[in-house]
């Protein structure tokens, strides 16, 4: 006797559930990717700052074979931990994050360094153009913001790389070495499929450009590193420039999605 009423209720429930699903699907899901190598001391600060700025975003820390308690700290602070069983270098670590983003179907992925030099306050500004569909990739450039102190050599190198990228593939990014990035679904798919290995930042821009993605930039401020030292010392800057120039000169061809390999 009650059955018809019950059925109606169920039907309504289902409709409500479907509407809820619609709402959930309409709300974009974003993932913050934090590559970290022996950053157990910096991570708590970085994760707290990210949580404060974008509490609704998921956070994953890619532990690229750390020998300290990086993974433990990240897990305790509620981040998803992706542990590379062997050290893959920054390119491989970042790609692990993009693979996770692709697998979990995130609408946007934001990449910030685990050493605390990227200010999470700029995450929303970086994601906005991604979700509006104004760009596929956003690079956080430090020259737009406050005066970023750097050695003259490094600044000259960055200017040169920016020029080279413009000549080679027409991108206009003033700070191509910045590891502060945001990517939309298409860019996530491209980066999950192939990502350069060492010193990957400028090459990744070229890669995105080659796949017909729109790369834009926003100004960000960067802080002094809170712990540890930069992976690029002054004498390595030269090697960096030669390697990246060569990579940009040769520039691997875009691959069809049928291929399933990792790096170019």
């Amino acid at each position: 006797m009650n059955e018809p009423a019950l059925r109606v209720a169920t039907h309504n429930d289902r409709r409500a559930a479907a509407m809820l699903d619609d709402v959930r699907l309409a709300t974009p899901r974003a993932l913050v990717i934090i590559p970290a190598l022996n950053e157990a001391r910096s991570l708590p600060g970085v994760l707290a700052a990210v949580r404060e700025v974008v509490p609704e975003y998921d956070v994953c820390v890619v532990d690229d074979g750390s020998t300290d308690r990086t993974a433990e700290v990240a897990a305790r602070l509620g981040a998803t931990v992706l542990r590379n069983p062997i050290n893959l270098g920054i390119g491989g670590a970042v790609q692990t994050g993009y693979l996770w983003a692709r697998e979990r179907g995130y609408d946007a992925a934001i990449q910030i360094d685990g050493d605390g030099q990227h200010d999470p306050r700029f995450i929303r500004a970086a994601v906005a153009p991604i979700l509006d569909g104004r760009a596929n990739v956003i690079v956080g450039s430090r020259f737009g913001g406050n005066g970023y102190r750097s050695t003259p050599l490094r600044r000259a190198g960055i200017t040169y790389l920016s020029w080279f990228l413009k000549v080679r593939c027409g991108s206009s990014v003033s700070d191509p070495t910045s590891g502060f990035r945001a990517a939309d679904r298409r860019a996530i798919a491209v980066f999950a499929q192939m990502y350069p290995s060492d010193y990957p930042e400028p090459e990744a821009i070229a890669l995105a450009q080659r796949h017909g993605l729109k790369v834009a930039e926003i100004p960000v401020e960067m802080r002094e590193r809170s712990h540890g030292s930069s992976s690029i010392t002054w004498w390595r800057t030269f090697y960096y420039l030669v390697k990246v120039s060569l990579a940009l000169l040769i520039l691997p061809v875009p691959r069809t999605t049928a291929d399933e390999d990792g790096s170019p």
Binding site: T80, R83, N84, S263
Partner: protein
Amino acid sequence: MSSEEILHPHLRAFATTVLLAFVLWVVYLVRYHRLSLRDSLLWLLSTITALAITVFPSTLEVFTSAIGIVAPVNALFALTFLYVLLNLLATTIAVSANATRVRRLAQECALLRAEIEELRHRLPRQPGDAP
């Protein structure tokens, strides 16, 4: 020029022995599963070519006149370089391909591990679990 003038008979005998031993070694490695047939193909092909040239040095003259080398011995040096370079490049290609595969596998491990952690957290705590 006769074969004798290009390569001294003793040298020919020695080179033939060495190359033959090399071919047999490669075959042995394949037979005992220490070298895959696919990777051995280039070695076998290039070594057998070298063997053919050593046994019939007159083939060198065709090559020599074709690209304008005066002394056939120089052509032999050039071919030796080519032989080493070719095999070295093939090896590097294989190493690169392996590096890519290892990277992808390591990443897959990372993803699976995260997946397992997530599932484990959803389960009620079992006795004997790590705290």
